[in-house]
């Protein structure tokens, strides 16, 4: 850099406010983007099955053929959230299924408290990429589960594996965590506990 020669030129009066406005726009936009990441993340995980997401909605019954040349071991894990006083387990630890074959597995829930409660089970699949191929045609996890004080119930889950499931997946694990939803239950679910159906 050369030695500057002092001159009498005034500092150009640039429009600082205009630049500040633009920069504040970025700031506000990025604050919004932080929150936009929440729905974006959900959409991204649902589409790709990242992070063990499974399609947690009712699938169409399988119309495609059963691939009897392959067998996949589907394991079941159950746990209750910390401080959730329920018993919750699967009737069987695992089942072996052919892709396309429909199976029913029963889960048992037991409200160990003296209060009527509402719970919901949240599924997760490992490995993550298998989540896209696990289709549930019927599942207790689609809805909130009301259970009267001390009551037990059998909850069925009917599923099949998409025959397109990649060849390298031989075992997949479906894990359910049971959460206490009593405080967030919808009124009709709460009302159903008052007159136990069974």
């Amino acid at each position: 850099m050369q030695k500057p020669e002092p001159t009498v030129t005034k500092v150009p009066r640039a429009d600082n406010a205009r630049v500040v406005r633009k920069l504040l726009f970025i700031v506000v936009g990025m604050f919004g983007f932080g929150f936009a990441l929440v729905p974006l993340y959900d959409v991204f995980c649902d589409i790709t099955g990242f992070n063990g997401r499974t399609k947690n909605e009712q699938a169409m019954a399988n119309t495609r053929s059963v691939d009897t040349s392959r067998t996949v071991n589907v394991q079941f894990l159950t746990r209750v959230n910390k401080g959730m006083p329920w018993g919750f387990e699967a009737e069987v630890k695992s089942v072996r299924v052919h892709p396309g074959e429909t199976k029913v597995v029963n889960f048992l829930a037991h409200n160990l408290t003296g209060n009527n409660m509402v719970a919901q089970a949240i599924p997760s699949v490992a490995p993550g990429e298998a989540g896209l191929y696990l289709n549930k045609t019927e599942c207790f996890c689609f809805n909130q589960q009301p259970l009267a004080a001390g009551a037990e119930t059998v909850m069925p889950m009917q599923f099949y594996l998409d025959p397109d499931i990649p060849d390298h997946i031989h075992t997949l694990t479906l894990s359910y965590t049971m959460y206490d939803m009593t405080a967030h239950a919808t009124p009709d679910v709460l009302a159903s506990i008052e007159q136990p159906a069974d």
Partner: protein, 528 residues
């Protein structure tokens, strides 16, 4: 004083600055504010350093002897927060305040009133954060990364104070960054086009854009933690449909650009000092500018390398692994350029140059351990071990902090008008250099052998290594008191510094007398 932003009002003689405390409370002068930032950051450096001393004292021997584990966790958390947001970032903002107007030939920052605010809210942020340590239930104990659910379900009642203090720090950084951008875009002297700007100005311009892009995301993340903990939302709570892993995505989307916020200005400082003491112009100026830009852009695409063990699909792991490794290309360009600048230069080894040389070598070591961590399969072994602690302390302490020390020695004569005590400066350097390596190098081995981070106790086989590390830690902490001594001595007196005390130094800041007058470049210089 003029309240009109950016207006040069010569009529109300603000040359007669108010004296006493009001001078500092109401000042809009970039040099005053720069000095306050630098002193604040040094105080925070000592505060955060004392917490590190508590950590190292506890880890001196296996077993629990000095503090209980909950307090230990508060120390690691607040040490990290204080050093990142209280020491490194304000030090860079202070250097920016002092040097950018003088480097581009501007009379002051573009928005002086906002400049005053962005500094003065910082002490309040840290008063809140540090005060929370004394509350019932303790301060934040979830690590500076405040992962959910540690910061939501399992955190102490004082978490709201942590959230608000981070909000204030974020607002301060954003205001500082906006000021830097407007100053650089609008206040350059005639003839000072973008490709003539010193690299410190360039790296700060890019850093400022990173700041305004990611600090709001951090503000969003802490706000979500706040509402999850106190207002019943479920952003990170699976029971309500949220996802704790999403916290890590949002946090590291901020967090990875943040680590470049803490190193890009260092690159600018080193790019000023190495040419000055090699008496050669910087090799590859424009490639330095482009490399800085490339690093900034890539920093947005690599965040998930902090989360390899969360169970990502292999394709995503591969993407983040290769994207991370790609960053070593522009960084390598920079290291190459610094070495090429020194090649066949007439080098002298004054204290700023010693710190700059140590920076180049030790930052590169930190970069290499970063490359090791980028390799997905081995990261599963290194994750959350002392290897990670060693890595980021090499880039942040012997990287960022060493560059700040180098900058302080380089510009102290300009700030104070006196030469610092070269003998003491070198003593400070050699004590720091040796102790920093005794402190952090053995941590690599502890980590590879499996010692996890953020624990107050450890298995017996790590006892010797931790004792060495702790001794290095105490020595490094004490060495920094030499620096305090040098600075105070230099402020109080010493050999009179000429306008340009370093023979090979270049830049407009050396054309004004030392100490720099209260107002400089009220008449803009002509840059040819």
């Amino acid at each position: 004083m003029s309240t009109v932003v950016g207006e040069m009002d010569h009529q109300d003689h603000h040359h007669h600055a108010p004296s006493g405390i009001t001078r500092w409370l109401f000042t809009t002068n970039h040099k005053d504010i720069g000095s306050m930032y630098l002193w604040f950051s040094f105080i925070m450096f000592l505060v955060g350093g004392s917490m590190a001393m508590v950590i190292r004292a506890e880890l001196f021997q296996p077993g629990l002897q000095l503090v209980d584990p909950h307090f230990f966790n508060q120390m690691t958390t607040v040490h990290g927060l204080t050093m990142v947001f209280g020491a490194v970032m304000p030090a860079f903002t202070g250097l920016a305040n002092w040097m950018i107007p003088m480097m581009i030939g501007a009379p002051d920052m573009a928005l002086p009133r906002m400049n005053n605010w962005s500094f003065w809210i910082l002490p309040f942020a840290f008063a809140i954060l540090l005060a929370s340590l004394f509350m019932e239930g303790g301060g934040p104990a979830f690590g500076w990364t405040f992962y959910a659910p540690l910061s939501t379900t399992y955190s102490s009642d004082s978490t709201a104070l942590f959230v608000f203090s981070v909000h204030i720090m974020g607002i301060s950084s954003i205001m500082g960054a906006i000021n830097v951008i407007v100053t650089i875009m609008n206040m350059r002297a005639p003839g000072m086009n973008y490709m003539k700007m010193p690299l410190f100005v360039w790296t700060w311009l890019i850093t400022a854009f990173l700041l305004i892009a990611v600090m709001p995301v951090l503000a969003g993340a802490v706000t979500m933690v706040l509402t999850d903990k106190y207002f019943g939302t479920s952003f990170f709570d699976a029971a309500g449909g949220g996802d704790p892993v999403m916290f890590q995505h949002i946090f590291w989307f901020f967090g990875h650009p943040e680590v470049y916020i803490m190193i890009l200005p260092s690159f600018g400082i080193i790019s000023a000092i190495i040419p000055a003491f090699s008496r050669k112009p910087l090799f590859g100026y424009s490639s330095m500018v482009y490399a800085t830009g490339a690093i900034a852009i890539l920093s947005f695409l690599v965040w998930a390398h902090h989360m390899f063990t969360t169970g990502m699909p292999v394709a995503a792991e591969m993407f983040f692994m290769y994207a991370t490794m790609l960053i070593s290309v522009p960084t390598g360009v920079k290291v190459f350029n610094w070495v090429a600048t020194m090649w066949r230069g007439s080098i002298t080894f004054e204290t700023p140059m010693l710190f700059a040389l140590a920076f180049v070598i030790l930052f590169t070591i930190g970069g290499f351990s970063g490359l090791m961590l980028a390799i997905t399969p081995v990261d599963f072994q290194y994750h959350d071990t002392y290897f990670v602690v060693a890595h980021f302390h090499y880039v942040l302490v012997s990287g960022a902090i060493f560059s700040i020390m180098a900058a302080a020695y380089y510009w102290l004569p300009k700030w104070t008008g006196h030469m610092y005590d070269e003998k003491l400066g070198r003593l400070h350097f050699w004590c720091s250099l040796i102790s920093v390596n005794v402190l952090f190098f053995p941590m690599h081995f502890a980590g590879l052998a499996g010692m996890p981070r953020r624990i107050p106790d450890y298995s017996l086989q790590f006892a010797d290594i931790n004792q060495i590390v702790s001794i290095g830690g105490f020595a490094f902490g004490l060495s920094q008191l030499i620096f305090l001594w040098v600075v105070i001595k230099c402020v109080k007196g010493g050999e009179k510094a000429p306008a340009k005390p370093w023979e090979g130094a270049e830049g407009l800041e050396w054309t004004v007398p030392s100490p720099a007058p209260y107002h400089t470049f009220e008449t803009p210089p002509e840059v040819k």
